[in-house]
């Protein structure tokens, strides 16, 4: 495998069995992602975007074919190995933020570092750095319920980037946000991508996100319909 390749899929197939029916969520998908890519999976609902994101995120395993993430074959991994891969190298950003409600902003961002077993000092520094990146250091003691949607998603981004992962997978990260917050989030992620060299892969059908992408992969019925390089077209007029 090329050293700069962080993700590689070979004839990736995912079939869901629903009673007598089989649903081909992914049908022989072959894709490579390189380090520091800012790519997006686009396509209609049910096209396989989230399924692909889940498999490369080691949350799910393929029915057939292979998904190699940072040199590890997802299909051969035990549950524990997959958890370790996610903990060390993969950050997730969800549409509904998925913050832990009883924890403060600081504790939410600190959580992946706790799982990594870092010392208190390391955790504190890295957590505050991550909150600085997303501009929420002053809200570290707030609870998720006290934050706006945009702020919550920024906390989720901070939580994803705090461990400086190789890959961040974002599933519809702007779907619950208004335009202003969406652009703010996208700017933040783009900045992190450039500064930290983190690979970002989005699953989206939000036009605002698509304008930021440097690579757009269109999935239709579980197959790669188009894979195109893009020039980001950030709409300066719409942004604040």
């Amino acid at each position: 495998m090329d050293n700069s390749r962080v993700i590689e899929t070979k004839d990736l197939v995912k079939i869901y069995v629903m009673g007598e029916y089989k649903i081909w969520a992914l049908n022989k998908v072959n894709l490579n992602f390189r380090k520091a890519e800012f790519a997006g999976l686009v396509g209609p609902s049910g096209s396989g975007k989230t399924t692909l994101l889940n498999i490369v995120g080691s949350l799910d395993s393929p029915t057939e074919g292979s998904a190699i993430v940072l040199g590890e074959k997802i299909e051969d991994m035990t549950h524990k190995q997959a958890a370790a891969l996610r903990n060390r190298h993969i950050g997730f950003i969800f549409q509904t933020f998925n913050l832990l409600p009883v924890y403060t902003v600081y504790e939410n961002v600190e959580f992946p570092l706790l799982l990594m077993g870092l010392s208190h000092e390391e955790r504190k520094k890295m957590t505050m750095d991550a909150l600085d990146w997303v501009g929420l250091a002053d809200r570290s003691k707030s609870k998720p319920a006290q934050l706006s949607g945009g702020q919550s998603q920024r906390v989720a981004i901070a939580r994803a980037v705090v461990k400086n992962p190789a890959i961040i997978l974002a599933d519809e990260p702007t779907a619950n946000l208004d335009a202003e917050n969406s652009y703010h989030i996208l700017d933040t992620m783009e900045r992190l991508n450039k500064n930290l060299g983190t690979t970002f892969i989005f699953a989206t059908h939000d036009e605002k996100v698509i304008r930021y992408l440097r690579r757009k992969i269109t999935l239709i019925d579980g197959k790669v319909a188009r894979d195109e390089e893009m020039t980001p077209q950030k709409p300066a007029g719409e942004k604040q």
Partner: protein, 390 residues
Amino acid sequence: MIIPKLALRNLLGAGIRTWLNVIVLSFAFVTIVWTQGLYRGMSRQVVHATVEAEYGGGQYWQENYDPLDPLSLEDAHSVIPESLNSLIKNNQATPILVIQGTIYPNGRIQPVLIKGIDPQQKILSIPSYFLNTEEEEFPALIGTRMAKSTGLKIGDEITIRWRDANNTFDARDVRIVQIMNTTVQSIDQGQIWVPLNMIQALTLMENEASLIVVEKELKTIPEVSGWEFKTLHFLHTDIREMVKTKSSGAMVMYFILIFLAMLAIFDTQVLSIFRRRKEMGTLMAMGMTRLKIIQLITLEGALHGVLAAIVAAAYGIPLLTLFASKGWALPGSMDDWGIALGEKIFPAYSAGLVLGTTVLVLIITTIVSFLPTRKIAKLEPTDALRGRMS
């Protein structure tokens, strides 16, 4: 150490739900310790009172003596053997002669046990020294219950009648010199205590006794022909069984209390797993294994027990200490139980009792907390993130 830290954080973060469970469980804790302490105190009090007033360090029974069979008393006496006489002379034992008799209080007839006791004895706490009178009268001592049932008062004269060694009826007037207040019914109700030497002479049973009570610290118990030594363990059999029966009855209450507390925790755990599927999915996405999530949720439930123990200690220790020092006043009807309870029970707690109850509750809480988490073992991260159960 991450799991306990997270579990405690989650538990405290759950707010009122946690505290309601903790309070219910702490109530179970305190009630179990309190009632167990009450029965322990009761047992200790009864044992102490009977040892002091009736059993001493054990009793030699004349071979025919059976306190449960009044008809056997006719033959239940014999001359005190020399080996026991030496104990009596050394003030290490005191003889008691028990014969059946009748009294005639206020024109009524009432069967009684006439018990002869040495007025000088120091083995039992019976105030027998009141029988030590210089006057030419026949003094008698009765208990408060006997006084109440017969209407007798100090100074009253009453006729008592008995059969002597030749089976001949004899009678004398006795004067009530003292009414003793004792918690031990078995030395009170239906009994009249008189000087041993006088009753021995009047019944023609010189130097005879029915039983001999030895002192508490007596090290060597000699074997005596025609006499059988009854240990305290034997003499307390009925008391033990009675306390055990009462204590077993209380077990029903413990089960109900524990069941209610455990139901609340089980319910919380089931609800928690149902409501927190998405959270579990997020934890998995961040790299937590299913086993760690099971540990986390189980520990969250189990920590209810730990918090409950702390809360129970906070209000339970002062409350139970107060009960232990002030005692628990008993209603008069409790006297009918037939054991030497007195007017108050003073609960007695031990480290073993508190520790045992704590360990028991913690084990049950942990099991109850673990049971619902088995579902998590089958939980797929993708389903959990969608808020579904696999």
